[in-house]
């Protein structure tokens, strides 16, 4: 490995010298890449349930190198986990180690793109296929194989791929084959190019092959899923919809039942300068597809079922995150953005932006196939349901108001209020836990001391009678050119268990220059859940130092 790296350095340096000698870099070699390393030192802290690790220090690192020459490019990635940070998928140590998990070569011209090696892809909204990476959750389900994208005429695009998904340092058992096509009529038909009315359709088809080898059940070797989508626009109005269907796919996700799966999304938006409105709804039943029927957790996902709820980033607003329920959910969302214009009474000198959003998610209505078979019994059809049959159980609801205002050159504030209902048992996979009803308030204020020095203060509070009770969080952040310093305390002052009223205190600083960033923090991290794209990960409590370095070059 060392020799390989050494050769790579020599090779890249040689290319670079060669390229620089020639001065201009039109159709010359280009080398670029990035790098990130996260290290954490763990102390034991029984009060918050943090454990020390045998290694004391754990780290996740990766580096990408890319080289291009005209229409050709190629890349390679190195990853090292010594050993994997707590809370990242590891499956008994499968993720630990160092290696080259991906490499690729690509040719692109105006019409054609060919990739061999590892690649990421999304068909439509991802209902049939989405191969992606989400470093913060340790997800990388890149496909190793070949992909072709082709523009037949402007507005008509097709893609096709075959491959196997990455599974830690290995590959999935199953093979994926997929095609996707899209027609945008406004681009295809010249006379419609400038039309106010826009119309497009698309479709995708994905098939997974995995040898069936179960001694008890007859399982399908090939599972297929297909989807159709449409987009209609008129002036400032847009409507997007997609419907997906999957044939019998007994899997660990659906408890090995044989019924087909369906998903339906509709999203309508209207916007003009200063105003935006979004209405959307979705209905999902038994739509999880993985390239291995036995895979669980975040492993080997093929279908992607986007959450309909908003993605919150304030710590206490993100305390109880929603995760898509592939086995059945109905949801609706409304979002409204408005900017009071500069110079109006509410807008003040700089304008005021207000955001309102509401979402609600329920289970879907399922009925047993007969009196003697409970819903979802392994080795049966499972249950019956029909499109848009909504159940009575509430999974999640949020109402949120957020107002951002710049008062003067020096002052900026953002305030938010949220009301939340969280079905703890369903979303966390537990039983007998109280569902959480919470009110959360956030006030953030930034004061610019001079043009380049600023102080930001933040207070967040969550009030709830359930789970761990009330929390309050205070944060101060000082920023100056290239540097930032931050300190915060998250205090669980309302925990019903008095001995668990813990302060989660954190202090840190960082340095940023160009594409490089380095950050060091010390503090306690509470036990929690992080979700992205229907995948949630339990993040264990920790106490210690964390160092993060990243660079783009």
């Amino acid at each position: 490995m060392k020799r390989f790296l050494f050769l790579l350095v020599v090779f890249l340096s040689a290319i670079q010298l060669f390229a620089q000698k020639d001065g201009k870099n039109e159709n010359k070699f280009n080398v670029s890449g990035n790098f990130q390393s996260d290290l954490q030192y763990y102390f034991e802290d029984q009060k918050i349930g943090a454990v020390a690790v045998d290694e004391k220090l754990l780290s996740n690192s990766y580096a990408n190198f890319m080289i291009s020459y005209g229409k050709f490019s190629a890349g390679v990635r190195f990853e090292g986990y010594y050993n994997t940070l707590l809370g990242f998928p590891n499956s008994g140590g499968k993720n630990d180690g160092f290696g080259i998990p991906s490499y690729w070569a690509n040719f692109t011209n105006d019409k054609l793109e060919v990739t061999v090696g590892h690649f990421y892809e999304q068909f439509g909204n991802g209902l049939t296929l989405r191969s992606y990476e989400e470093k913060s959750l340790g997800i990388d389900n890149a496909i190793l194989g070949a992909r072709v994208k082709y523009t037949i005429v402007p507005g008509v695009n097709i893609k096709g791929l075959v491959g196997k998904q990455r599974y830690y340092w290995e590959l999935s058992d199953g093979i994926l084959r997929g095609v996707d096509g899209e027609i945008q009529f406004n681009e295809m038909i010249k006379s419609l190019n400038e039309s106010q009315f826009r119309f497009g359709i698309g479709g995708s088809f994905v098939s997974k092959y995995q040898k069936e080898d179960n001694p008890i059940y007859n399982l399908p070797n090939n599972v297929a899923t297909g989807a159709g989508r449409i987009n209609i626009g008129y002036s400032d109005f847009n409507l997007i919809s997609e419907y997906a269907y999957k044939i019998n796919d007994p899997s660990a996700d659906n408890n090995y039942i044989y019924r087909p799966g369906q998903a339906f999304l509709i999203n309508a938006t209207y916007s003009q300068k200063g105003l935006g409105v979004i209405l959307s709804t979705k209905w999902v039943d038994n739509m999880s597809l993985r390239s291995d029927r036995n895979a669980t957790l975040s492993d080997l996902t093929v279908s992607y079922l986007p959450e309909i709820t908003r993605n919150y980033t304030y710590v206490l607003q993100a305390f109880y995150p929603y995760a898509s329920q592939p086995m059945g959910e109905w949801g609706a969302k409304g979002e409204f953005f408005y900017k009071f214009k500069k110079g109006t009474k509410l807008g003040g000198k700089y304008g005021t932006t207000i955001t309102l959003n509401y979402s609600r998610v329920h289970n879907i209505k399922k009925t047993a196939i007969n009196d003697s078979t409970p819903i979802g019994t392994t080795g049966t059809y499972g249950y019956n349901t029909s499109l848009f049959a909504i159940g009575k159980e509430l999974y999640y609801q949020d109402i949120n108001v957020e107002i951002s205002k710049k008062w003067s050159k020096k002052w900026y504030t953002n305030i938010a209020y949220m009301n939340l209902y969280y079905n703890y048992n369903v979303l966390m996979g537990t039983a007998g836990h109280d569902n959480v009803k919470a009110n959360i308030a956030v006030v953030e204020a930034t004061y610019k001391i001079t043009d380049k020095y600023a102080l930001k203060g933040e207070v967040q509070a969550m009030f709830t009678k359930q789970d761990k009770g009330n929390w309050i969080l205070g944060q101060l952040e000082f920023t100056m050119p290239n540097w930032f310093f931050t300190v915060f305390d998250n205090w669980n002052y309302g925990n019903p268990d008095k001995s668990a009223r813990v302060h989660y205190f954190n202090v840190g600083f960082g340095y940023v220059k160009g594409g490089n960033r380095i950050q060091l923090t010390y503090g306690k991290q509470r036990e929690g859940v992080m979700c992205v794209g229907g995948v949630c990960r339990h993040v264990p409590a920790s106490n210690g130092f964390a160092l993060s370095i990243s660079s783009t070059f």
Partner: protein, 177 residues
């Protein structure tokens, strides 16, 4: 551990010798659903272009783009710079980007990179991350994160690139010596 150190070294060695990133050719979508090519959208008649990666859920990104938005008219008048915002929102919020941006009154051209293809091609680790391209489409300067007041430095860089002046770059300074 040894290997990590080595990989880090390698990263820094490469970053020291190589710095002439071009914008690769990647497919993106505009807010009307049209497939566009990353090399087409950065054309600006030989004047500089800022490419800013953001997400609707990223607070520092919104602060950065709001600051850029307030200064955009002045910057464009003085240097001819064009600002492009690339959203990395995934399918959860891809369809919300249009109304989100429009309501804030940002005048940038906005493109959707729902599966992070352009983000990866430009080696972005985290958002916000901005690239300043010279008139030939080469990366002249880049910046990650947003700290209050960063727009001043950004504008300094835009002016230099627009005027064709060399950027303050230690490596190049050494070479000149």
């Amino acid at each position: 551990m040894k290997k990590i150190v080595f990989a880090m070294l390698l990263a820094f060695v490469v970053s020291a010798v190589a710095y002439s990133q071009e914008v690769p050719q990647v497919q993106l979508k505009n807010l009307k659903g049209k497939v566009v090519n990353s090399q087409e959208i950065i054309e600006n008649d030989g004047k500089p272009v800022m490419v800013c990666f953001f997400a609707t859920w990223c607070k520092p990104c919104i602060k950065e783009l709001t600051a850029f938005s307030e200064a955009y008219e002045d910057w464009a008048d003085e240097t001819g710079v064009r600002i492009i915002a690339v959203s990395i929102d995934d399918a959860r919020s891809t369809n919300s980007v249009g109304p989100f941006v429009n309501a804030r009154g940002w005048d940038f051209d906005v493109y959707l990179d729902a599966n992070g293809d352009f983000k990866r091609a430009m080696n972005v680790n985290n958002v916000p991350h901005s690239f300043l391209l010279d008139g030939k489409g080469n990366v002249a300067w880049q910046h990650t994160s947003y700290l209050e007041g960063d727009e001043a430095e950004t504008f300094e860089m835009i002016k230099k690139v627009a005027a064709g002046e060399p950027l303050k770059d230690e490596k190049k300074e050494k070479e000149e010596e």
